[in-house]
């Protein structure tokens, strides 16, 4: 995808490469890399650094039975589940997280919708569907928040974010993203803040309580 101007910062790419990035953020990173050759190449460069560290690390003796087990298993039958392919604006890793089904949207007020993909102790990740001209709901702002645009665009005090662009926000950033006119804005949004459920609130009140 060309025209991407907001990319993944290096500390997140390294944490992703090293496997320490919490899963909700890892999904956003994997989705952006699926769309952005620049970050794909940067991630591969970090993996080259990881490989160089393996190469230079001190060998530790492995048991003889391990070698035999591996060599004996080369002919063993195995299954490699095929990864979910991209579907419309949803990159492969998002379709994988959705188990191959298109998102099931739930209304969240003001004509907007969401589809929660995952939430747990590490944070949450969801798809947001924002009507043109509407404010993007604040998805909890205690820590890190990643928002990847999949369709349409939004703009806030820090700039304009179009398809493939990633906004990285921390608790210090006060911002009010507004979906651009045109196609509805679809975003993949992850946060490490606890997820609040407000579905029992009257729809009118939801914007006040934020979601």
């Amino acid at each position: 995808m060309t025209g991407i101007t907001h990319h993944i910062p290096d500390n997140l790419l390294i944490a992703y490469a090293a496997g320490t990035l919490p899963n909700p953020f890892a999904l956003v990173v994997a989705a952006h890399v699926s769309l952005c050759d620049d970050c794909r190449a940067r991630l591969a460069a970090h993996e080259a650094a990881g490989g160089a560290i393996i190469e230079q690390s001190a060998p530790q003796e492995v048991s003889a039975s391990l070698r035999d087990r591996v060599l004996d298993a080369l002919d063993a039958p195995f299954e490699m589940p095929a990864p979910q392919p991209r579907h419309g604006v949803y990159p492969g890793p998002v379709m994988e997280a959705l188990k191959g089904h298109p998102p099931k949207w739930k209304p969240i007020g003001m004509g907007n919708r969401q589809c929660i993909i995952d939430h747990g102790a590490e944070g949450s990740v969801r798809l947001l569907w924002i009507a043109p001209g509407q404010a993007v709901p604040d998805h909890g702002h205690n820590g890190l928040e990643l928002t990847l645009v999949l369709q349409g665009a939004f703009a806030d005090e820090t700039g304009r974010f179009g398809p493939g662009d990633l906004e990285v926000a921390d608790a210090d950033l006060e911002h009010t993203p507004i979906a651009a006119e045109g196609a509805p804005c679809i975003c993949l949004a992850a946060t490490d803040a606890a997820l609040k459920f407000n579905s029992f609130l009257p729809r009118m009140l939801q914007p006040l309580f934020r979601i």
Partner: protein
């Protein structure tokens, strides 16, 4: 690698005509051209293209002991370390068709597999991974691109060994999974930009090939 009876070494880089060694008789033996690829790349290509078990055993003997130390360091319970090494090495064999020396060195590719498998096994959840860009299996690798990437990786290794001990420690911690994203200083002191541009070239070539194949 195929070791011939008379100790001539024939490097098999299957589809690349310019690099396939032509066997010559008699005194010219000494001039038999051998590819300049690193030995690990040759093993891996022999595994990928010929399902060469001997080459795989060489890869195992080189990488398994290093992986053991690395996996132990990044928080796996001692009883599970060898199980993870086993799983990683088997994945190397099973996913060999995805290995593309224009985009990744063997060690980078194995690093990536090791991180994925370790997370999948220890956390019992699948780590989200980017879409694969499928290599066209019948296209020839661009030898100059492969060699250039190897040279850049060599420079990276040298830079790594020249870091000051404290900095080296931080870099190792970051890449071996001992630091969180908030603790990682993005400035590593490693020359990653040059590697990145090499990998980018490999990607562009691949995208171009896919596009050409896609249009009738």
């Amino acid at each position: 690698m195929i070791m011939l009876d008379d100790h001539r070494t024939l490097a098999v880089i299957a589809p690349c005509d310019s690099l396939v060694v032509s066997m010559t008789a008699g005194k010219e033996q000494a001039q038999v051209r051998k590819t300049d690829y690193s030995i690990q790349t040759e093993w891996m290509l022999a595994v990928r293209d010929d399902r060469d078990r001997r080459a795989f055993a060489q890869l195992f003997d080189h990488f398994a002991p290093r992986l053991k130390g690395v996996v132990a360091r990044s928080g796996a319970p001692p009883a599970q370390v060898e199980d993870i090494v086993q799983d990683v090495m088997l994945t190397v064999w099973r996913k060999a068709h995805q290995f593309d020396p224009e985009r990744a060195q063997v060690s980078s590719w194995i690093y990536q597999i090791a991180r994925n498998r370790q997370i999948d096994i220890l956390r019992r959840e699948r780590r989200p991974i980017p879409e694969e860009i499928a290599r066209q299996e019948d296209t020839t690798p661009d030898a100059s691109q492969v060699l250039a990437l190897e040279q850049e990786t060599e420079k990276l290794r040298q830079a790594l060994s020249q870091l000051k001990p404290a900095q080296r420690e931080m870099v190792e911690k970051a890449y071996l999974g001992e630091l969180s994203h908030t603790d990682i200083q993005a400035e590593t002191g490693l020359p990653l930009g040059t590697i990145k541009s090499r990998i980018r070239l490999g990607l562009e070539r691949l995208r171009h090939e896919l596009k050409t194949i896609g249009t009738p």
